[in-house]
């Protein structure tokens, strides 16, 4: 992201925004808005003034500043010093700054950090509405569950390499395929029965098994035959986390650290 914004020079290749290197853009905030670091602000400056100097540099006035403040719901905190803001408020302020130039492209680094539950709900719908306007919204995050609900396209990067690049729907579908969740009061027996087939079975919680490689009817029939009680069987609802784990399976070394980072 820093390379795209012309802050750092690339070791290899180059980054273009709308076909141009960032440093040659005129009024760059009208091309791309970015939130890299919500903590990057002068604590003594008010939220409004923090946006005002950025607006001035693009020839924008106070009206636009007030507009973006109300877009992110900070109109009541506009004249408060940004140093006293919670991380969540700083995220909103950072997003407001990214929106100053009303750009077609937004690039947000970890925008979910520090948000309260209400903030999560707000930012999901806000980002979705921005995308619905026809904007490209690029979000980087470690919070898979948030991305699952908001993102349409996913790029997974590990150790500086692109591991996967595709639509979230395809990725989820690839993981969810022929996987089942089984709830049973006798998981040990069920496991015993099912592992004798070609199915792969794993426990995913108390009384919960995940089965792949066997259709649901076959499972029910097998367990019925042996008299193992079944409480519920359903198609497994895949999560982005699962997809991530699956996609990074090859890089075993990496997986351990990546999982660590998510906690």
């Amino acid at each position: 992201m820093r390379v795209i914004l012309g802050l750092d020079s690339a070791e290899e290749g180059r980054a273009l925004v709308g076909g141009q290197p960032y440093r040659s853009l005129r009024r760059p905030l009208t091309h791309i808005g970015a939130l890299l670091d919500a903590g990057a602000l002068q604590p003594g400056r008010t939220a409004r003034h923090h946006l005002l100097w950025q607006a001035r540099s693009q020839g924008l006035g106070t009206r636009r500043v007030d507009e973006v403040l109300s877009l992110v719901g900070l109109e009541n905190a506009a004249r408060r010093k940004a140093g006293g803001f919670s991380l969540g408020m700083r995220q909103r302020l950072g997003i407001a700054a990214a929106l100053l130039g009303d750009p077609p492209v937004l690039m947000l680094d970890e925008p979910f950090n520090g948000l309260d539950p209400e903030g999560f709900v707000w930012i999901r719908s806000f980002l979705t509405s921005l995308a619905a306007d026809g904007r490209a919204v690029l979000v980087s995050s470690h919070l898979m569950s948030e991305l699952q609900d908001t993102a349409s396209h996913l790029v997974i990067i590990g150790r500086g390499k692109v591991i996967a690049d595709g639509s979230v729907r395809d990725m989820l579908a690839s993981v969810a395929r022929d996987r089942l969740t089984l709830r049973t009061p006798a998981p040990a027996q069920a496991m015993d029965v099912l592992t004798r087939t070609s199915a792969a079975v794993s426990a995913s919680g108390p009384g919960m098994l995940i089965i792949s490689g066997l259709p649901a009817e076959k499972v029910v029939a097998l367990l019925g035959e042996r008299g193992v009680p079944v409480s519920e069987i359903s198609a497994h609802r895949a999560s982005l986390e699962d997809a991530y784990m699956r996609l990074t399976q090859d890089a075993v070394e990496y997986r351990a650290t990546a999982v660590e980072a998510q906690r």
């Binding site: 760059p28 890299l36 002068q42 604590p43 003594g44 950025q54 540099s57 020839g59 130039g101 995308a131």
Partner: protein
């Protein structure tokens, strides 16, 4: 997002991201941090308060409201000598040999014979007896031969060598309209023209005759030196007069007391003249010369004395200018700055212009206020204030603003290079404020002090020097006395050189380095 969607186009409306907008952004940054503009106001206040405290040293015996006499050019002058005179109307001349020039110096316990090298004995034509009136004179001196001097600041050398009984000096002044011409001669037969003084609008009737005066001897010391009273006595043979001289007898009187740079001794408390068959013997002390700063000025305040608080304001301004950029590095706000304005060299220039303008304005305001408040206050306490021509005053006040602005830009540029506050502040204070204090406080010998004020950014303080240098006025022309080794604008240029060099390095690094 599906590919059927129309790409979004910014509705931001028209606008430019030119240099003016960038300046506006940097100015908005500065004015929206209360600590910075309040700090800048405090810095200006420090200039005023320290200046007023530094010049409020009790009261002086001088009469309230008294100033130095002003010469025809407006400069402060001493016009103090023992004058034996008659009136001369219209054109005319006076010719007289000086046959001896001796003196008495006030020693620690006893007085002994000796002369100040710039003691003066000669002939003078002066518009009136009032202080600071135009004149022209030719004189013998103990240390600098014969001189022709006029209107206080002008000095032309004549025959070298001292006056003795064996080698008297013949002096002559000739008035013709607005011009007075000076001649000298070793034997009274062959005359040499020394120079011609043009005194526009010189009154038709002038006071003319013989004069003797002597400034005090100035002894050097680091702290500025001390003075030793000196009195001169000269013997003149009978003067030869041509032209419209009055028929009254010669009148002798001390003009202008002993001035700022002269003093009678314990035993010789006043000037006098005696007339004998061979001529006149005249004793006098004082000086006819421009007033210079430091020890030779005596009690009183120069313009730069009121600006003694500038260093305090400078420290505060260096801190603010440094934080103006290092604060951005510390809070990673520099990323935002370089994202909204990717043309980095222009960002640096805009920042330098903003901090430079703010410090210039605050410095100029502080300097103007302290001079406006301090001068009447000092005069009310009986201290004369050294007045300088308006252009010099403007140079000193505006130069103070420029000095502070250049130092602030220097700090800003170092801030870009080092990206951290503490080392930048330490370095700029150490090479700008410290040499100024060491150099001017008399802590160091004159040599190292002058060297510091020549090569460090503290050279910029030379812009504040309002006191003039005259080689014909004995003084200790060293930094503790208010004399910088470089000319005002040359000194400021040294500081600006540091600032520009740092700015160039900063611009290169800012462009090349990852933000």
């Amino acid at each position: 997002m599906t590919s059927t969607m129309t790409p979004y186009r910014s509705q931001a409306g028209p606008g430019r991201d030119g240099f003016r907008q960038l300046l506006g952004a940097e100015w908005t940054k500065f004015r929206t941090v209360r600590g910075w503009w309040a700090g800048m106001a405090c810095a200006a206040l420090a200039v005023v308060l320290v200046g007023l405290l530094g010049t409020a040293a009790g009261s002086h015996s001088g009469s309230a409201g008294a100033g130095f006499p002003a010469g025809p050019g407006g400069e402060a002058v001493n016009d103090s000598f023992f004058f034996v005179h008659r009136t001369l109307t219209g054109n005319g001349s006076i010719t007289v040999p000086v046959t001896s020039l001796t003196g008495v110096i006030d020693g620690q316990s006893r007085e002994y014979s000796g002369t100040q090298p710039w003691a003066k004995a000669g002939v003078i034509m002066k518009e009136s007896l009032s202080q600071g009136s135009p004149y022209a004179a030719v004189m013998a001196t103990p240390g600098h031969g014969v001189r022709m001097q006029y209107d206080y600041t002008q000095d032309i050398a004549g025959i070298p060598g001292a006056v003795t009984a064996a080698a008297p000096r013949w002096l002559r002044l000739v008035r013709s309209g607005d011009t007075i011409t000076g001649y000298d001669s070793a034997g009274g037969t062959s005359w040499t023209l020394i120079g011609t003084a043009r005194l526009p609008g010189l009154a038709s009737t002038v006071q003319a005759g013989l004069f003797v005066t002597s400034p005090s001897i100035i002894q050097d010391s680091n702290k500025g030196g001390g003075t030793v009273p000196a009195v001169a006595t000269a013997h003149f043979s009978q003067p030869g007069l041509v032209g419209g001289w009055s028929q009254q007898a010669w009148t002798g009187q001390q003009l202008g007391g002993a001035g700022t740079s002269g003093s009678y001794t314990d035993n010789i408390t006043t000037g006098q003249f005696t007339r004998s068959g061979t001529g006149f013997t005249v004793t006098g002390a004082g000086d006819i010369a421009p007033i210079v700063g430091g020890i030779a000025m005596g009690p009183g305040y120069t313009l730069e004395n009121f600006l003694v608080g500038v260093f305090a304001g400078l420290v505060a301004m260096i801190v603010i200018a440094t934080l103006f950029i290092t604060g951005e590095y510390r809070r990673r706000l520099i990323h935002t700055t370089l994202t909204v304005s990717p043309r980095r060299g222009r960002v640096l220039i805009a920042k330098a212009l903003v901090i430079g303008s703010v410090t210039f304005a605050a410095g100029l305001a502080g300097a103007a206020v302290v001079v406006l408040l301090g001068q009447p206050h000092a005069r009310a306490d009986g201290f004369p204030t050294f007045t300088v021509p308006p252009l010099t005053e403007l140079r000193v006040l505006a130069g103070t603003g420029l000095l502070l602005a250049a130092a602030a830009v220097f700090a800003l540029a170092l801030g870009v290079i080092l990206r951290r506050s503490a080392p930048v502040i330490a370095i700029v204070v150490a090479i700008t404020v410290l040499p100024y204090i060491l150099g001017t406080a008399g802590v160091l010998p004159a040599g190292p002090a002058e060297w510091l004020l020549r090569v460090t950014p503290a050279a910029g303080f030379a812009i504040q020097q309002s006191v003039p240098f005259y080689q014909q006025v004995m003084n200790i022309y060293t930094p503790p006395n208010g004399y910088y080794p470089l000319a005002p604008w040359a000194g400021l240029a040294v500081l600006c050189g540091y600032a520009l060099l740092a700015l160039a390095v900063a611009a290169t690094l800012l462009r090349r380095r990852d933000a």
